[in-house]
């Protein structure tokens, strides 16, 4: 139990997706202009990462890993090179499914998400979560916790950045630095701050 809690904190803070691995930066920068859209993106990230990482783990373990097809009489088969296409397909399907379910049963949440949901298909952080899961050989429970933790870390970072940028709209910055430039500098400072968490969890 405490192992899983440690893994959660590790995924959320020590290995924060956007700030230490630079994953998902495109949406991280583009959708953090307003706190409201940052919150929407953060919640969507937690939901999609929490579902796709364990789902991809099941598919990888049952079909794609080296020797996984032993139950079908083909123990020598190694399909792991197909994992990229399989993961992308699963992510696209889950995002589409989530969109339809929300549209049908929770229209209020659906309108709040707006354009973010379909965009998540091509989010580096989500694909990255699944790829890290394979590289580090997590089991099912660990991959679920890892997905939720990584999503929470992304949400925390993007909401903080959104709040800071909302204040910056009134700041008097040098012309060339306005917008994208200052956002990178702020992200760098947040990354510096998050690196302090590295000592928090002994890995």
């Amino acid at each position: 139990m405490s192992d899983l809690a440690t893994l959660f904190l590790h995924a959320a803070f020590v290995e924060n997706m956007p700030l230490t691995f630079f994953l998902g930066l495109c949406t991280f920068i583009a959708l953090s202009r307003r706190p409201a859209s940052a919150v929407g993106l953060g919640v969507a990230m937690i939901a999609v990462l929490g579902v796709t990482v364990p789902l991809n783990h099941l598919i990888y373990a049952a079909l794609l890993a080296p020797g996984a097809l032993g139950w079908a009489g083909m123990p020598a088969l190694d399909l792991s090179y197909l994992s990229l296409i399989a993961f992308i397909g699963v992510i696209a399907a889950v995002v589409q499914l989530l969109e339809m379910v929300l549209d049908r049963f929770f229209p209020a949440i659906y309108t709040a998400f707006g354009v973010f949901l379909p965009l998540l298909t091509v989010q580096c952080a989500i694909l990255g979560g699944s790829l890290f899961m394979v590289e580090r050989r997590y089991d099912l429970a660990e991959s679920a916790v890892f997905g939720l933790g990584a999503g929470t870390g992304f949400a925390v970072a993007v909401i903080m950045l959104g709040a800071i940028r909302a204040r910056l709209a009134y700041a008097d910055l040098p012309d060339g630095l306005r917008g994208l430039g200052i956002t990178f500098v702020i992200a760098g400072m947040m990354s510096l701050g998050f690196s302090a968490f590295a000592q928090m969890v002994a890995s």
Partner: protein, 220 residues
């Protein structure tokens, strides 16, 4: 298409319409792989190859793609190309392939690749599409190589593995800046690069947001 038009399609994305510093495309991988020039070069070559071949293929079948499922088709084409590149790297450059770890696979979701095929290759014949992709790939490479050179030069005192500044460990005078090899410095350098480009080309400066954040324009 006339030659000057093709020429400007190729050279515009280098600085004036640079995909990384102006359009916020493909930053994800741009920062992670720039701790040394060698990895930055490999990554640039891999991405340029994928974006050019992907643009050519998508542009060839552009009349046959139903627009409802075009994203899925584009992603599958790109993912197949990325798998090929990944296998080639693992076979011939195992050392660098290990350093790049998951980032080669992540070219699949690189916004730059999908962005170019969605906004240009889908609507244009193969030759301009591939030239446009090559220009964007080179613009991306330019940014990667600049940041990679700065980080390797000041973080380890070397370029491409050759020692330029003799470090203290080796009896020289240069103390390596460890910060340059960590994550924050990549953000600072890219921010500084954006600032430098926009100081030279004031047309890229963003309009000030004096309106309250609630009514500010939304960008996706």
């Amino acid at each position: 298409m006339a030659r000057p038009a093709l020429w400007s399609v190729l050279t515009d994305p280098l600085v004036r319409q640079n995909p990384v510093t102006l359009q916020i495309l493909g930053i994800c991988s741009a920062l992670a792989v720039t701790t040394s020039v060698a990895t930055a070069l490999t990554m640039s070559a891999a991405l340029t190859a994928v974006v050019v071949m992907g643009a050519g293929l998508i542009s060839l079948i552009r009349h046959h793609i139903p627009s409802a499922i075009r994203l899925i088709i584009q992603i599958v084409i790109i993912a197949s190309l990325v798998i090929v590149i990944d296998q080639v790297l693992q076979a011939f450059l195992p050392e660098i392939s290990r350093k790049l770890s998951v980032f080669v696979s992540l070219i699949t979701t690189n916004c730059l690749v999908l962005g170019r095929s969605e906004s240009f290759a889908r609507l244009n014949p193969p030759v301009p599409a591939m030239v446009d992709a090559l220009g964007n790939g080179l613009g991306y490479s330019l940014v990667l190589i600049v940041i990679g050179s700065i980080r390797e030069l000041f973080g380890a005192g070397s370029l491409l593995g050759y020692q330029i500044l003799p470090t203290v460990d080796q009896g020289g005078w240069f103390t390596p800046l460890n910060l340059m090899l960590l994550a924050p410095s990549a953000f600072f350098l890219l921010g500084g690069l954006v600032w430098a480009v926009r100081s030279v080309l004031p047309a890229q400066v963003e309009a000030p947001e004096h309106t309250p954040p609630d009514s500010a324009g939304e960008r996706t």
